[in-house]
Amino acid sequence: MEVFELEGTRYTPKVVFDVKNKVFEISGDSRPEDTHTFYQVLIDWLSKLHSAAVQGDFKFKFAFDYLNSSSSKFIFKLIKCLKDLESSGINFSIDWFYDEPDIDMKELGEEYTELAGMKINMISVEV
């Protein structure tokens, strides 16, 4: 339960869930052929944190470069899963990085804030 890591590929983002340092990150391109399977693995892993002996403040960094529409649906599921973890004493502070001209990416972050009822820090990156 220490660290969960996936190398980024052309189709899938880089994933680092570092429980020890309480820093989680998903970054890069997300357009898997089978979005469901890819994200379900992440969501299942995160759900296990409920029963893990960890608590406290965690950081979660989303820094997508490219996101296809079905990925965005599963990321919403993942954020809801983070919200649920609050009941187990795991509080995530979420940073949502987007390139300054990428209006869709910005709007998506804002949409998650609204839908999931979690505060998401919007961080604009100059291109």
Partner: protein, 674 residues
């Protein structure tokens, strides 16, 4: 003493040291050699081996007399003489008389190594001076180069005087017998020895270079590198000892450097050989042993470079012992490797066998068993090196045949994959026909919207983007939708069919639904069809914009789920965003979409599109085009005739995309008001 000498000579010869070309017909006369019985015909030579008058600490000129001499054997280093225990450094004169018959052909002397400089007199004449003979270190110049001296003197009795001095080497005196023989015969022998040396040295050098080349192209296998180094240093050694071809080519090479090269190549050959064994048979070789030996050789090699020759020449003794040990160890390693079935181990053992034959041939001359021709000895050593290279040949041959069989396996696999690929491709191509049939034809659209353009570019044959068109006769309205379903390719295409059929169904129920009402209907339709609330798995749906264009009034009403609409008017673009709610979402079940109404004036152009176009990466930094960049393209596009717009857009997108792959389906619809 003799045994030790033979032992040492053996290993000198092991690396082709020494001019082992003379056969010694020992005529052991005391201070006088009577060769008058010998006619010196075409193939006759004789070694002037035996007792010579030996004047220690004296440089006698021809004709000088001195009572203090002893009779000592030549060839031999003077430190091995009798009871007097001469030091290795010093100077001395050797003298003898030779009786020859008067009717003899032209004769010549052949001189090998004499440590370290000498003057040779025949009767009163100085016939050869090699290096510089002196009575102290100062002024003495050492030099080792085989000499060939034609005898001009025709007298019956020749007095031979040989002044020798040594201040540099651990052995002083005459190492190789002085040979007298028929000039033609000696020349031919000399030539054959040189040729044998050049053949062996040259061949080894080429083999060495070849293996360097192999290492250059395949650095993973270090054994080729060390084998190359071994061949190379062995070759240099062969050329610098023996007939000393290298010194004949480079006479300016100082003795101190030449002798260091001679010894360094010997030591390096051994250590390279060891590393060759280690990297060839890594599993069978003890790393500790290799390291330990390396440390010893680091000391030996550093010593050879830094210490004087009188000291470092002694290193040949530990070297010979280590070499003997190494050969035994090599045999053990090879046998182990052979048992393990390591490729090339058989040839390794053969190479050791050949080495033993070569050493045997070389030693046999010293043991006076028989005189092998120098070419034979060289060939034996060459065969040894060649047998070693066969270790690689066997290994590479195996690798190549492995690659071949892998390749044929891969070919079969590839064939299967390409068959499957063709099958899938065919089936998708067929699916494309169905999808195309479901999309409204351009002609139909042009009938009602003559100034419209559609750019439709699926990422992979079939598309998750679709456009939908309906003419409502009762109100003279056109309903038009642009949609981007979740997924692309086959799953996207499935979704598009769901979208198209749902829209058809909704509008056939009531063609007068407003745009927002159609979206609300579509939302509940898709939810029902795909994302029933108790079904947690599917997150499918679509982004869509639908607009109702009134052909009579040039007004449009649109409603959008996550899509944008751009109106280009007078060279400026206005962007209208839709609702942030996606069709099929499991949240906010009864989401109310909003209608936007726009009145357009002539020459205004509206654009609707999927995000695939402006999310495409490209440009100089591989970044997305972004809406901003796309907007600029749309402004330019609206400026040109509608009939040229599709090509214009297509070329703009292609040039943006460059070599990057297409990331998503692309769809753009534009309509210009008359």
């Amino acid at each position: 003493m003799r045994f030790n000498q033979y032992f040492q000579y053996g290993f000198w010869i092991f690396f082709l040291f020494g001019s082992h070309l003379f056969y010694s017909q020992e005529t052991n006369l005391r201070s006088k050699f009577d060769f008058s019985e010998i006619d010196f015909g075409n193939d006759t030579s004789v070694a002037i081996s035996g007792d010579w008058e030996f004047y220690w600490d004296t440089l006698l000129d021809p004709g000088d007399s001195c009572p203090n001499y002893s009779l000592e054997y030549l060839p031999e280093f003077w430190k091995n003489y009798g009871v007097n225990e001469y030091p290795s450094t010093g100077y001395a004169t050797f003298r003898t008389k030779i009786k020859l018959r008067r009717d003899r052909p032209i004769l010549a002397f052949q001189l090998g190594d004499i440590h370290n400089s000498y003057n040779l007199f025949v009767n009163n004449e100085l016939v050869r001076s090699v290096g510089h003979v002196a009575t102290s270190m100062k002024g003495s110049v050492p030099k080792w180069v085989p000499q060939f001296v034609v005898l001009d003197d025709t007298s019956e009795v020749l007095e031979i005087t040989l002044q020798v001095s040594n201040f540099q080497h651990r052995n002083g005196g005459v190492q190789h017998a002085i040979v007298l023989g028929n000039v033609d015969y000696l020349l031919s022998v000399k030539e054959s020895v040189s040729l044998a040396d050049l053949l062996l040295g040259g061949s080894c050098m080429v083999i060495g270079l070849f293996f360097f080349g192999m290492y250059f192209f395949y650095k993973k296998d270090k054994s080729t590198f060390y084998f190359g180094l071994f061949c190379f240093s062995f070759a240099v050694r062969v050329l610098i000892v023996g007939s000393r071809s290298l010194l004949i080519i480079m006479p300016w090479l100082p003795w101190g450097i030449a002798i260091r090269i001679e010894y360094l190549t010997l030591f390096l050959s051994v250590i390279f050989f060891l590393y060759f064994i280690y990297f060839s048979f890594k599993e069978q070789t003890s790393k500790l042993l290799v390291q330990l030996t390396s440390y010893i050789y680091i000391v030996i090699i550093t010593g050879t470079i830094l210490l004087p020759a009188s000291v470092f020449t002694y290193f040949v003794i530990p070297n010979n012992l280590l070499l003997l040990g190494l050969i035994v160890y090599a045999l053990i390693v090879y046998v182990k490797a052979l048992r393990r079935g390591v490729f090339g181990a058989g040839w390794a053992i053969v190479s050791l066998g050949v080495l033993l034959v070569a050493v045997g041939l070389a030693l046999s001359e010293y043991a006076n068993l028989f005189i092998p021709s120098p070419i034979l000895v060289s060939s034996a050593f060459l065969a040894f090196v060649f047998a070693m290279s066969l270790i690689f040949a066997a290994r590479f041959g195996k690798a190549f045949s492995d690659v071949e069989s892998l390749k044929s396996a891969a070919d079969i696999q590839n064939h299967k994959i390409s068959e499957q690929h063709d099958l899938i491709k065919d089936s998708i191509r067929y699916a494309k026909r169905i999808q195309t049939a479901l999309l409204p034809s351009i002609t139909t659209i042009h009938e009602k919207l003559p100034n419209s353009v559609i750019y439709y570019n699926p990422q992979s044959v079939v598309s998750g983007d679709f456009y939908w068109f309906k003419y409502v006769e009762s109100t003279n309205d056109v309903l038009l939708a642009i949609s981007d379903c979740t997924g692309h390719g086959v799953p996207g295409a499935f979704m598009s069919i769901v979208g198209i059929s749902s829209l058809d169904k909704i509008v056939s129920t009531n063609p007068n639904y407003s745009a927002s009402e159609i979206l609300e209907q579509l939302n509940s339709e898709i939810r029902q069809k795909l994302n029933s609330d108790n079904h947690d798995q599917v997150e499918e749906g679509m982004d869509i914009i639908i607009c109702r264009i009134s052909l009579d009034t040039n007004t449009i009403t649109f409603s959008s789920a996550l899509h944008k609409l751009v109106v280009v008017s007078d060279g400026k673009a206005d962007i209208f965003s839709g609702c942030r709610h996606f069709i099929g979402s499991r949240f906010k079940k009864d989401f109310k979409f909003i209608d936007h109404k726009l009145t357009l004036k002539p020459d205004d152009q509206i654009f609707m599109f999927s995000d695939g176009v402006y999310d495409q990466k490209g440009g100089n930094n591989g970044k997305k085009l972004y809406l901003k960049g796309f907007e600029e393209i749309l402004i330019q596009m609206a400026n040109i005739p509608v009939s040229e717009q599709e090509n214009y857009l297509s070329s703009k997108i292609k040039s943006w995309q460059g070599a990057s792959e297409q990331l998503d389906d692309m769809l753009v619809f534009g309509w210009k008001v008359k």
